[in-house]
């Protein structure tokens, strides 16, 4: 466990050192705050004391921001060769991946923590469904974790950060939008399959306050598969012919 935490700490530090963290937090808060409180179907227009507006904005902003966070994690190490130094230390490939996963997730959690004043404000101006907000935040964290594992995987494929970023967006787009659209176009088993695959449907139910084991299993499987494939990619160098 200790190596995972050491790597996570170092990665988190480098997010802040390289300004990525600040830019990400400022942009995220700017976008979500603007659309939650000031513009469009904001809280005052809807007139309900819930954070649904915020959750659906965060749903999109995180989709774009997370690949930008994860793109460098492994691609840069591969390009500069530091991956060799890291993997010849007393750590396993899995610990490296999990450390980087944890660091990215912590950064997202920090960004989300800055939106807690939204909740406090809301609670003071109306009666809030605390459970729904809790599951909504949980949904955002699960969604982030899923996209982080996809981003880690694409970052492990290449030494080029831009490729990693675009590839993560491309794969993410399927879960984010395309499966959902396809689900609407098919009926029966195929339609059901696409609904199950679509991240949107799982996130929606969580942000409405429904905590279903199905959704949690869905998110966990994306996370596990993404992390596992990244680890496999790292281990590929290590395959005997």
């Amino acid at each position: 466990m200790r190596p995972i935490w050491i790597i996570a700490k170092k990665e988190l530090q480098s997010f802040f050192d390289s300004l990525i963290a600040y830019i990400m937090i400022v942009l995220f808060l700017g976008f979500s705050g603007f659309f939650t409180w000031l513009y469009g179907s904001d809280v005052f227009l809807v007139g309900q004391a819930n954070l649904n507006g915020f959750f659906s904005i965060a749903f999109w902003t995180l989709f774009f921001f997370i690949p930008a966070i994860t793109m460098r994690t492994l691609a840069e190490e591969r390009k500069t060769g530091t991956i060799e130094l890291l993997l010849t230390k007393a750590v396993t490939d899995r610990q490296v991946i999990l450390g980087k996963f944890l660091a990215s997730l912590l950064l997202v959690v920090i960004a989300l923590a800055f939106t807690l004043p939204y909740y406090i404000t809301l609670a003071s101006i109306g009666s809030v469904d605390h459970g729904a907000i809790l599951t909504g935040y949980l949904g955002l964290i699960f969604l982030s974790a899923a996209y982080i594992s996809i981003g880690l995987f694409t970052s492990s494929l290449t030494g080029n950060q831009i490729v990693a970023f675009l590839l993560a967006l491309f794969i993410g787009l399927f879960f984010h939008l395309i499966f959902d659209v396809l689900a609407g176009n098919f009926t029966g088993f195929t339609g059901q399959l696409f609904t199950t695959l679509s991240l949107t449907s799982h996130f929606d139910s969580m942000s409405r306050g429904v905590l279903d084991s199905k959704d949690i299993i869905y998110f966990l499987s994306i996370i596990v598969i993404g992390v596992f494939l990244s680890e496999l990619n790292l281990a590929k160098r290590n395959l005997a012919n």
Binding site: I6, D17, T80, G81, T82, E84, L85, T88, A90, N238
Partner: protein, 307 residues
């Protein structure tokens, strides 16, 4: 901790990078790993450090196979990879702290170890800078410091002195010699005088195979068992001189370097200088040069690796 390499083989697709090599390095020994580009030095080092897998054969560190206990053995290895990759946006001290923690150095000892490494590697003036702001030589020192931070039994250094200025090279060599007294060190380099200055033993590999193994002295003896003299003899017909030289009892062969300049190889265990001198005195020729030459490591290296 001894290193024992048994029938090590590695292929990259159809290309054989390392071809069935075996050797041993004892604790307290510094092994210089020589070879032309692409000979398989770096590949071998990457296999010892457990970065890439072994196709065939085995590597034993202190009697334990890295195939079975690779993850625990890494803790005993300090590694400076080729090109010395480092995190450029990390401050030196933070990076050393990170390396130490990852290598399992106890929290209470980390600060002491870092202090010691900063002192040994001469990083004191630069320790608060980011690695990216350092000159190449200082980066190399950071690379060495991170390799030694956990006091490993085995040090694998891939071209440790590249990019250093002559003063630093001398210091780093001294440092490696110092470390090599107790630890097992393998270092690769292109700089041949460096091997002679630093290493107890030399291993030359070419096209994935070992072509020479021994101390600098034994290699030189093997390469040329015979004495070699260069001489310039004036005031005589070069052809006559050459023929006369060839008739001497101690001379094995004579080659023209210049019109009147010859390279004379003596027969095994014989010395020809005296005979050459007496010949010239007898014939009235004037010797303007008579130099015994030593075979250089460069020549041995070239001989072994260019065919």
């Amino acid at each position: 901790m001894d290193i024992k390499i048994e029938n090590l083989t590695k292929n990259y697709g159809p290309q054989v990078a390392v071809d069935d090599i075996s050797f041993e390095v004892k604790a307290g020994e510094i092994l210089g790993f020589l070879g032309p580009n692409g000979a398989g030095k770096t590949t071998t080092m990457k296999m010892i450090t457990n970065y890439i897998a072994i196709d065939h054969g085995d590597i034993l560190l202190g009697g334990k196979s890295i195939l079975n206990e690779g993850d625990t053995l890494r803790r005993h290895i300090g590694y400076l990879p080729e090109h010395n990759p480092l995190y450029h946006d990390m401050p030196v001290i933070d990076y050393l702290k990170f390396s130490a923690a990852l290598q399992g150095v106890n929290k209470s000892e980390i600060t002491d170890r870092i202090k010691e490494m900063v002192k040994i590697c001469g990083l004191n003036a630069e320790k608060h800078k980011k690695i990216g702001e350092l000159s190449k030589g200082y980066r190399q020192r950071v690379g060495l410091a991170q390799a030694m931070i956990h006091n490993p039994d085995v040090l694998i250094l891939d071209e440790p002195t590249s990019g250093l200025d002559p003063n630093q090279i001398v210091e780093i060599r001294k440092l490696i010699r110092e470390i090599g007294k107790e630890k097992t060190v393998i270092l690769s380099t292109h700089i041949l005088p460096e091997v002679e200055a630093t290493c107890d033993r030399i291993l030359i590999i070419n096209k994935g195979r070992i072509v020479a193994d021994g101390t600098a002295e034994t290699l030189k003896k093997q390469a040329h068992g015979q004495e070699l003299i260069i001489t310039t003899i004036g005031e005589g017909n070069p052809v006559d001189i050459k023929n006369a030289l060839l008739e001497l009892s101690a001379v094995a062969s004579v080659t023209n370097i210049d019109t009147n300049r010859f390279e004379i190889q003596s027969k095994p265990d014989k010395h020809s200088a005296r005979e050459v001198f007496q010949l010239c005195v007898g014939k009235g020729w004037v010797i303007t040069e008579l130099t015994p030459t030593q075979t250089k490591l460069e020549d041995i290296f070239r001989n072994l690796t260019t065919n």
